[in-house]
């Protein structure tokens, strides 16, 4: 029975394709895209201020509320953080990716492969918690600075407006550091992939034609690595936009988009506003993805 059926499938690839594709596609379309659609609908409902009930009628009231000054401050703060984290990750990821592609021997390459992927797959919440321990006033980072006799540098950093705070773990700089740490592997991998693809002959040709190493780096390596950087930035930017765990553990607890969404749907019972808040990062990411596609970033993913 099963044999005849399997032979039938071999001879009828169309039926086989339908059977293979049906379940996963059905799941994603119904559950995932269906949910996104429900979210979009939800954002056009509004909360009745008197009864505290959600009114299921089409209106722009929720969006008018969303574009108020207080809410826009939250959005701006989140976007600035996401951009800083993206830039920070590029600066830290590039040397590692470049070294592993250009200079590392076979064994070191394998070691680096594990060194980057292990943090990526291990527990996110534990890694955030580890930073809470490390950044505390009495924690290892302060201790390290004190050992080097550099406590003054740390105090100077913390005394700065906006980025500073009472200790690293409640400062915006600490928050930036943790975000960058957590998403760093997502930046390293695509940069590595795009650097791998640069043919060695191109670098030789550049040198033969009289370019100094720095010129070769700037005119040949950087432009060809750009798709990888853009691909990595999709993740660092998007993940920072939508995170609410890290800013509620680290930092000065002024709200980010994620925290606003969480509190509006929870205690406030204002699901429409929470939905409208998530539509913003969604729209941003769609434009970002379209731009990234133009930069050829999808080939580097």
């Amino acid at each position: 029975m099963i044999r005849r059926f399997s032979t039938y499938l071999y001879n009828h690839p169309g039926v086989l394709l339908a059977l293979l594709l049906g379940p996963p596609l059905g799941w994603m379309l119904v559950i995932y895209l269906g949910s996104l659609a429900a979210l979009l609908f939800q954002s056009f409902y509004y909360l009745d201020g008197f009864t505290g009930q959600v009114v299921r009628e089409f209106s722009f009231l929720t969006y008018r509320d969303l574009f108020s000054a207080a809410h826009m401050t939250i959005v701006l703060k989140t976007v600035v953080m996401a951009l800083s984290v993206t830039i920070g990750s590029v600066l830290i990821a590039f040397p590692l990716a470049y070294y592993s592609v250009r200079y590392a021997g076979k064994r070191l390459k394998v070691l680096l492969y594990f060194a980057v992927l292990l943090p990526l797959w291990s527990s996110y919440i534990i890694r955030v918690y580890a930073w809470k321990l490390m950044l505390a006033k009495e924690g290892i980072v302060s201790w390290f600075f004190a050992q080097l006799g550099l406590s003054g540098v740390l105090e100077w950093l913390l005394s700065m407006p906006i980025v500073g705070g009472a200790s690293l773990s409640v400062s915006n700089f600490g928050l930036f550091l943790v975000f960058t740490y957590i998403w760093l592997p997502y930046m390293i991998l695509p940069i590595q992939a795009s650097l791998e693809r640069i043919p060695h002959s191109l670098l030789d040709a550049s040198g033969d034609l009289g370019a100094r190493p720095l010129q070769t780096f700037r005119r040949i390596v950087l432009p060809l690595a750009l798709p990888g950087v853009v691909a990595g930035s999709i993740f660092t930017f998007s993940l920072t936009l939508g995170d609410y765990i890290i800013p509620s553990i680290i930092g000065d607890s002024t709200p980010f988009i994620g925290m606003a969404v969480y509190s509006y749907q929870g205690t406030a019972g204002n699901l429409p506003l929470a939905a409208a808040f998530t539509v913003l990062p969604m729209v941003m990411m769609v434009f970002y993805l379209l731009g990234a596609r133009k930069a050829g970033a999808f080939d580097a993913l």
């Binding site: 044999r3 399997s6 032979t7 499938l9 071999y10 293979l20 594709l21 379940p23 996963p24 596609l25 799941w27 994603m28 379309l29 559950i31 995932y32 895209l33 949910s35 996104l36 429900a38 979210l39 830290i92 990821a93 040397p95 590692l96 070294y99 200079y103 394998v110 492969y113 594990f114 060194a115 292990l118 943090p119 797959w121 291990s122 527990s123 919440i125 890694r127 918690y129 580890a130 930073w131 505390a136 924690g139 302060s142 201790w143 740490y181 760093l184 592997p185 998007s238 993940l239 939508g242 995170d243 553990i249 994620g258 969404v261 969480y262 749907q265 699901l271 998530t278 990062p281 969604m282």
Partner: protein, 265 residues
Amino acid sequence: MKNKNLGLAITMWAVVTFLHIPFFVVMLYAFTTDSSTFTFPPPGLTFKWFGVAWSRADMWAALSLSTRVAAISTLVALVLGTLAAAAVYQSHFFGREAVSFLLVLPIALPGIVTGIALRAAMGEAGMTFNFWTIVIGHATFCVVVVYNNVLARFRRSNPSLVEASMDLGADGWQTFRYVVFPNISSALVAGGMLAFALSFDEVIVTTFTAGQQATLPIWIFSQLTKPRDRPVTNVVAFFVVIVTTLPILWALFQNRKFEEQTQND
């Protein structure tokens, strides 16, 4: 040139250290005698928190829930991910690119979007938030992990093996059973492990689909706000690091080994 390399090498090792130091710090703190602050270096070392953590019923409940959720989600993801990978590999249908895009969307979009979208839809559908709503959310973002692993394996394996098997008289089922399945089985295990790790660890989507229950990450997150329970949190963190690292390394090693084999061929 030599000096420039040295500078780059130092930077590279600094980044590697940066990536790994938190694991050692969090493991060290499981042994500290200090129960209220995060003093470094620890004033003393002790094993007593391991006993305290062991006797916490809420911790065991969270651990058990997380394990069950991750097991079921992984099973669903294995089935759906393998089917999708097979479909994309074996035929060139219209919209093939879109399938990959759709599958990666749940992890490419901010977690909060996936979370609140599922919550809105499940609420709309009148579902109560329980074990199964958590599983639905987790399975949705785990599919892509299995899909990527299995598809990569399909692309590296030799398509003429299947034809050879059929030419030698095997029927479709035998070909699947003795040629295709052994070929992808270690990719299934590796993909399954990574999916398990992803589900076991997920917290953002879970908070929206979980109702009153606490998975282990949610439990840890709630402990962080209670200073009294810090030593217990430290011990749990210690175990999570130990228990997750080995399977992850194993799964990564499997993928690596296969890549090297096919490169040598």
